[in-house]
Amino acid sequence: MTDNQIRLDEPLPDEVIAAGRDIYAPPGGSAYWNALESRIMAKLGDSAASRWWMVVGGWARSGLVAAAAIIVATVVGALLLQARNQEARTAYDTSSQPTITETLSVPAGALSERDGPDTRDATFRDVISH
């Protein structure tokens, strides 16, 4: 190879190209390419499987989120219901029991005749303790 053979903007000399093709030659023989193809297809199988698991995983995640939402909604609903019941019970108790003033203003004679002496004593003790 001489400098004259190697000029700018001209193709490289044939022997250089040939040496390059030798360096970059792909592996020969169909066995190699068949094996490579098998490896690629096996990787595709793994990739497809992992994609499938990702889809299933996505569904599982959605299911878990939905289940958690249902549980939270149920618990919150139960708590609200309990709170409402408690409120209603308190309101009922408050309205059904006489106030202290009302109780104190009740004359002893107004006590029901049906109440025995024990009941009356108990009532007085209760009123006095307030």
Binding site: L12, M41, L44
Partner: protein, 183 residues
């Protein structure tokens, strides 16, 4: 080398079948394109084992992206772009590879690694000293026979850049091989 010459008439049907999930059809596409894919990858990563890894990775990526492939296009250039990207990703990860190792891998042929003559050894060393893109353009054009437009599409660079890279790559090679005489 045109796209048509590398596009068998039933390739569109194979690609369409592969898009519908037919793995056997995709296997045929792998068979049809693996050698070209290897050549593209090898031009970029230079080492046989890395080229093989890049080809495998590229076919997996292509399979996963099949639903985005437009059947009006040719499969080959689309795949080549994916191969080039896979090879470039691999090359970036392999940046730590020592220059000596690169010289060695380029100076030796895969077919007969023990029989490296002077020209091949020197050419291998010279190629290893070229910047990655310049070397890829030179190998794809001068050794693999790709047109500038195909190289541009494959490497994702303008055609003019591919021409310019080729010019500079040849110039550098000539400088490095100036003292070689074969007479």
């Amino acid at each position: 080398m045109t796209d048509q010459s590398r596009n068998p008439p039933d390739e569109r049907a194979l690609t369409a079948a592969a898009q519908r999930g037919d793995q056997a059809a995709f296997g045929m596409l792998v068979r049809l394109h693996s050698k070209r894919a290897y050549a593209v990858a090898r031009a970029i990563v230079t080492v046989h084992e890395d080229a093989e890894d890049a080809v495998q990775e590229a076919f997996v990526r292509a399979y996963q992206a099949l639903d985005r492939f437009n059947l009006d296009q040719s499969f080959g250039p689309w795949l080549n772009r994916i191969v080039a990207n896979a090879a470039l990703d691999l090359a970036r990860r392999r940046k730590v590879r020592s220059t000596d190792e690169l010289h060695e891998s380029l100076a030796g042929s895969f077919r007969d690694p023990g029989e490296a003559d002077e020209l091949r050894r020197r050419l291998g060393e010279a190629l290893a000293q070229l910047p990655e893109r310049m070397r890829s353009v030179l190998v794809l054009h001068d050794i693999e026979g790709y047109a500038h437009s195909e190289i541009g599409k494959t490497l994702g660079i303008p055609e003019g850049t591919a021409r310019s890279d080729l010019h500079h790559a040849r110039q550098r090679l000539r400088g490095m091989l100036r003292d070689l005489r074969n007479d």
